[in-house]
């Protein structure tokens, strides 16, 4: 996973660089929580540019990180999700709390 903290806007970009399933979420979760508590950002942006697969384990992962950032008074967004990942996201209802930001940004 690659992360980038934009100090000016207080935004933490979390670019996931592998397939997201039950096996990979534990490691991804650890890195994300570490970065979130380190930078205490106002907003986290999940960048899916380099994610080719995600199942429902990813939904649990996103909701868990959303709870953490909400606790810190921040918000969360998703960018660059492909068609099949968007389908899983839409079905889960998670987009109501973590919206997809259409504008493509480089994380």
């Amino acid at each position: 996973m690659k992360t980038k903290f934009e100090e000016k806007n207080n935004v933490l970009y979390l670019e996931i660089t592998e397939e997201i399933d039950h096996h990979t979420t534990e490691k991804i979760r650890r890195v994300m929580d570490n970065e979130i508590t380190r930078f205490m950002p106002r907003k986290i942006v999940f960048d899916f540019s380099n994610v080719s697969f995600m199942d429902s384990a990813g939904i649990g992962l996103l909701i868990g990180r959303y709870k953490l950032i909400k606790l810190l008074g921040g918000a969360a967004e998703i960018i660059n999700a492909n068609k099949s990942i968007s389908k899983v996201l839409e079905m889960s209802g998670v987009l109501k709390i973590i919206p997809i930001q259409k504008e493509k940004k480089v994380g």
Binding site: E19, D21, H22, H23, T25, R29, F53, D55, S56, A57, I59, G60, L61, I63, G64, K83, S84, K87, V88, M91, S92
Partner: protein
Amino acid sequence: MKSRYDNEMELDFLSKSNNEAFARITVAAFAAQLDPTIEELADIKTAVSEAVTNSIIHGYENTEGLVKIKATLLNNVVQIEISDNGKGIEDIELARKPLYTSKGNLERSGMGFTIMESFMDEVEIHSVVGIGTKIIMKKKINKENNKEEIEEEKNALID
């Protein structure tokens, strides 16, 4: 031996979480013989990943056991059976409900069966407590409609 299917395959593997990717990629490669679209293949991969993860986390509760997959192709239908000899599901109706999870502490979303049911055409759940669980899923690959979509996908890749 004359199979009643156009093609069939079986796969047994240990209930280790790093086999989740192995299982879904293998089944997708097998189903690719029916010329599915990228989207149909993604649906199959996701459904397989959900069922295999259920066997590993819930069936065997992270102890070691065998997960079995049998996949068959007949005309334009892929059928995938995923079974384990794990602890079984006590209440199948409850397990099917969206957002229900028996493992809330693990950040599970409770969407596994909902995803299987919406990404596949048919999903049967057979389970006996103490004996195991078998999921049978079917998906029809609509070849005629796919010709156009596959062309579009090819063009999109070229762009």
